[in-house]
Symmetry: C2
Subunit: 373 residues, 2 copies
């Protein structure tokens, strides 16, 4: 049967080490249930990356949600949207009547110091943390001449400006390209303002069969995939091929083309990520991502708005919560409730999350979801 | 459509800190794929509790399994059987043609010292680790007079004896009740030989539509559930009500009664766990679990064999792998391939896993699966 998002909710995003994860989750769950007009669900799919074992039951039992199937999913930065995909499938097949998808992460308490790689983490042991991986992708991309460092920086300028209109965003600001490039270097060529922050937050969505209600947002097509073995001869940067392959599946499932989408919430963990993703999603041609950002095409008011929420760069990136925060933004946009960052007349929105730093493959996981009618 | 287990595999179980998790997983996956006569699957569901983020993709990419949906599930000690349940559902509904369910855990490298509770872990911060939780359950159970400490100990005697015939078991031995009770005290009244060990291992199962093949084992009924809010007035020990409720759903799905089951693989993380579970599953009446173990009824050769593999107490308990190791044992038993621990004429087997130490609820998760025709 057809499935719709009946309600969404999020916490505030930011460094909130003194707010227990239960409080953050409660903000998101309470808002989502109220938005859906219900206080009862038949199953919960929880996405988290660094949540301790049992965190889902710990959080949900404190909210009185017990005695039903509760599953915790880890799928790198796509954990929240993986919960969406699995919850959607359960409603689509009639397994459960109403499902809560919940993403949560408290990173400020987890990332207080160095992350110690576990013994099989070859990349971590080699120092290849994600900023380094994205930095190498950025260097390779810039080396092709497709874009300039200034064009990459415009992604940060744009997303911080979008977040000025998002009261739940962790950061926002009216930056210049020069300020972005002049901020502290994190992993050359990626400066501080080109990297997503350390974030705490939660986001939730209630899924149920579509009934045609005015506030429901139909789930039009979804896809989930892990990366292929990395081919070093690829003309694309790391992750591009995974996003492109997953998007192709999602567009086919939704029966649409990239040009049919009115707004995009994509995985801009680093500026290079948004640039490569706008290309991989077919929003612009290969090599045109930097120019599109510079031209304003991907800003709210442009032809193909990307990350009106502020994206991971500005709204924040609490890993497991991110995908469902993207879903919440698209739902608000398609309802016309997005305030100062509203994309006028938006009817179809797309969510994309990808992540994971296993260097032998082209990304651990990617989810693409098309919402709207 | 009807679903069957087409192949199973496991690693050896034991303290194997020098064997990379990839090697353990490879032993299980290679055996399961060969047993199923295939080298291709359409999706992978991975169960692990303490596996680092991305461990599934790290392990699977090393085995050349990439470019398909890969989902990692954490559901306490039921993580492996949660992967079974979700994989089964995907095949049942035609979402994927062939699914690999993989459970893995390397505990010897994770549990090298004290476990530091995270900030919301009220039980851990209070010192209420799982041995303490089970010890309190054991004290309460013994206090009712339903069983004696000696009867609890017979569970350990039985399962260590069963494991003498299981070459993959971590431990085995011909112990007396006195030796079990005389072993080092871990959490009064539970002595060392009444507690499952720290284990490394992996287990896998290949699920696909049933075709009636001679070596296939049909999945007859499944259920998954989390615990209700704990009712301190309950006449039962912790976890009993969750296991009973989940089993009722599974028996209904399978269309059978407890008396129809020829063998049981259940969650004997501690001796009290098996005793309470034999009652909760309806194998014996409430309060008869200790007596049943003492009488030999639950031994191989008895009327209701429980844990012919040696169970968690002797085969070992690598958390995420345990549920699928139970499934492998039942598959081998129903094929008549269980060697010296074979339950003669076994046609229907039941797997039960439960776990989780959130004290406000009656267990984080429970899965019950009925296999066989």
């Amino acid at each position: 049967m057809d499935v719709a998002v009946h309600g969404v909710g999020t916490s505030h995003f930011g460094r909130q080490p003194d707010r227990p994860l239960i409080d953050l989750a409660w903000d998101a769950v309470r808002e989502a249930l109220a938005d859906a007009g219900t206080d009862q669900v038949d199953a919960v799919y929880v996405g988290t990356v660094f949540g301790a074992p049992g965190v889902a039951q710990r959080v949900l039992s404190a909210l009185g949600i017990t005695g039903i199937p509760i599953l915790t999913l880890e799928n790198a930065c796509a954990s929240g949207t993986t919960a969406l995909v699995e919850g959607h499938e359960a409603v689509r097949t009639g397994r459960y009547g109403r499902v809560l998808a919940l993403g949560l992460e408290q990173m400020s308490t987890t990332f207080g110091g160095a992350i110690h790689p576990e013994s099989s983490d070859a990349e971590g042991l080699a120092g290849l943390a994600l900023p380094a991986l994205y930095a190498m992708a950025a260097h390779r991309y810039l080396q092709t001449g497709a874009a300039t460092a200034e064009q990459l920086a415009t992604v940060s300028v744009k997303n911080h400006a979008h977040a000025l209109h998002n009261p739940r965003a962790q950061y926002s600001g009216s930056y210049t390209v020069e300020q972005v490039l002049g901020s502290r270097m994190i992993a050359d060529p990626l400066t501080l303002l080109q990297c997503c922050p350390t974030s705490d937050g939660a986001a939730a969505a209630v899924l149920a069969p579509a009934t045609g209600g005015a506030r429901e947002i139909p789930v039009r097509g979804l896809a989930i995939r892990s990366g292929d073995l990395w081919d070093h001869r690829s003309p694309h940067v790391w992750g591009y091929d995974l996003v492109a392959a997953t998007a192709a599946l999602a567009y086919e499932a939704a029966g649409i083309a990239p040009g049919d989408v009115d707004l995009f919430e994509v995985h801009d963990a680093f500026t290079i990520g948004e640039v490569a993703t706008t290309e991989a999603l077919g929003i612009v041609g290969h090599g045109d991502g930097g120019k599109a950002a510079e031209s304003g095409r991907t800003a709210v008011g442009g032809a193909s708005p990307v990350n009106p929420s502020g994206g991971l760069l500005s709204r924040g990136h609490p890993l497991g919560a991110t995908g469902l925060a993207q879903v919440a933004e698209v739902v608000w946009q398609l309802r016309g409730d997005a305030g100062g960052r509203q994309v006028d007349g938006a009817r179809i929105g797309l969510v994309e999350t990808m992540g994971g730093g296993v260097s032998g493959i082209d990304g651990n996981a990617c989810v693409v979801a098309v919402l709207g009618a």
